[in-house]
């Protein structure tokens, strides 16, 4: 997908949230305030367009914390470039979800 492609505000918010360290579905929902029926399909589309990629957490880590493993998402190179152009397009994006607000994974 071209990095100057126009993303919807919702997709841009999700990219910004992932960049800010909210790297699994529920945390993105909490950060953006979007419902599950919007966040997960949007992430499928972003993954299909190779703007984000996903990987499963190691089972041993999840077992140690006595919880099921999570699926984590991260931006690809194309995703980073698209996010940059989206920030220019939506100037309020960084104020809504500041990039510095790193969340421990």
């Amino acid at each position: 997908m071209a990095c100057d492609a126009k993303l919807s505000h919702t997709a841009a918010m999700i990219l910004q949230a992932i960049d800010a360290g909210f790297v699994y579905g529920f945390s993105i929902m909490e950060m953006t305030g979007l419902p599950s029926g919007t966040v997960y399909p949007a992430m499928r589309r972003l993954e299909r367009d190779e703007l984000i990629s996903s990987r499963w957490e190691r089972q041993s880590i999840a077992d140690a914390e006595q919880r099921p493993p999570r699926k984590y998402y991260k931006l690809t190179a194309a995703g980073n470039a698209t996010l940059e152009s989206s920030r220019r397009r939506y100037p309020l994006l960084e104020r809504l979800i500041p990039s510095g607000e790193e969340k421990p994974v």
């Binding site: 029926g37 099921p68 397009r89």
Partner: protein, 494 residues
Amino acid sequence: MKSFPQSALKALQKPALDCASLLVPTSLRSDWCREWRAELWHVRQACNLTGEVSWQVERSITYFCLGAFPDALCLRWHSWKGFTPPEPLRGSPVKCILSLVATVACFYVISILTPGVRTARRLAWNHAYAGVVLIRNAEVTSHAATISSRQFQGWAAGKSKYFDGFAFYRIAQRPVQLWSSQRKNCKIAYATSNLFSLLGVPLRFASQTASSDENLRDAVLSDRVWRKDFDADPNIVGKVLHVHGRGFRIAGVAPRGSWRLPERVDVWLLEPDSAVRTGSTGYVLAHLSSAGEVEMWAPRVFIKAYGPHDSELDLLGVSLDQKVPPPLSVFLLGVLLAFFALPATASVSMSEYGLISHKLTWPTRLRRWGFLGAKAALVLIIAYFASFDLACAYATLFSPLSVYLHLSSCFLICLAGLSWACRDQRQRCPVCLRRVTHPAQVGLASQTFLGWSGTELICAGGHTLLHIPALPTSWFSVQRWLVLDGSWDFLFAR
């Protein structure tokens, strides 16, 4: 302890995920299920951390689970190469039209499945009892049978200026052999074969195929007997019942509520005019000719007839046509009244103020008015079916009460529906016809007379902004549309 709604919502959550997983392509299903179950666990943990244990929490978790359906559909659409998923329907004109069409379908199905409504519609379309007169002796005040079969045969054989058809029936109590062994005492009407065609009553299951056995005459069952003694068998036509050892072929079933003549009848046995037993007395029905309709201006009319040996007979003709207006006329009157009353209940202005500087193209205008027309047409169709269903459900067919009920329900449904159609149209973007959303309160009520105070709504497609004043003033009395120019584009992905 958990309340019932709480337990019910919790019981819904996992089955909802399982159902949604069926929409996911098989190759992705296990991974998808694993992710959603893990997320559900984390959602539940997060809710428990807040310490709230209420049915609102379970509701939030259930909403989260319902989000699995759009996600599963999204994956399914991705698996179909070249398929473009439809745009979200929320607030779209397509959703509005689909909802109205679904409502029309619901009421249509109700009218088809409800026997009373179906019969009423069939009788109304067939103009049952129109121009039919029951003739009886004027000197007898009761509904007793007073006309002899000989008199009937004389009238039926002769020519009359005022009547173009006669039918006759007489009542008798007879044991009828319904099945091979079952015998039952029934009220039988021995009637001439043209009885139902003269009344204009269509028979259920009636077939045009004649009996293979020419000796068998036709019999018609009442709806009550057909349901009670034949278990509402739809393949009843062609079966044989026996009265006094004589076989009769069942030719159809009289619809419920269609018999409005003296005496309750279980079975009608239809015979040719020549076979009517001499010496018996019964009821004579006559159908008015066009000249007769002119003369029959009152519900009752005295008839002077001549019997055998030129003896004079004083007869009374009682119209069976209740002169109630046909359902279509009642419906049209209701629609007309609703259109007259509409300006009193809703603003019929489409608020094109503000659009004057930005003229809409002709196709856009046509689409807008076409959409309003389609909504109004569907509302009227809903009113047609719903009012008829109501009238038939709560009142006797063709009674004055049913007409009043039909008219009032039709008027109210049309008025409410058309008001809604106008209000809905005023809240739709004139360009894309989507409902404007995201209401924002702007200004202060105390500044109403100094500055702008009211609500602003925006089109999700980024075409227009709608201003609705909080308090109409002389300079801002109605809502206004602002067409958004290119400077707003950065807010919307197009």
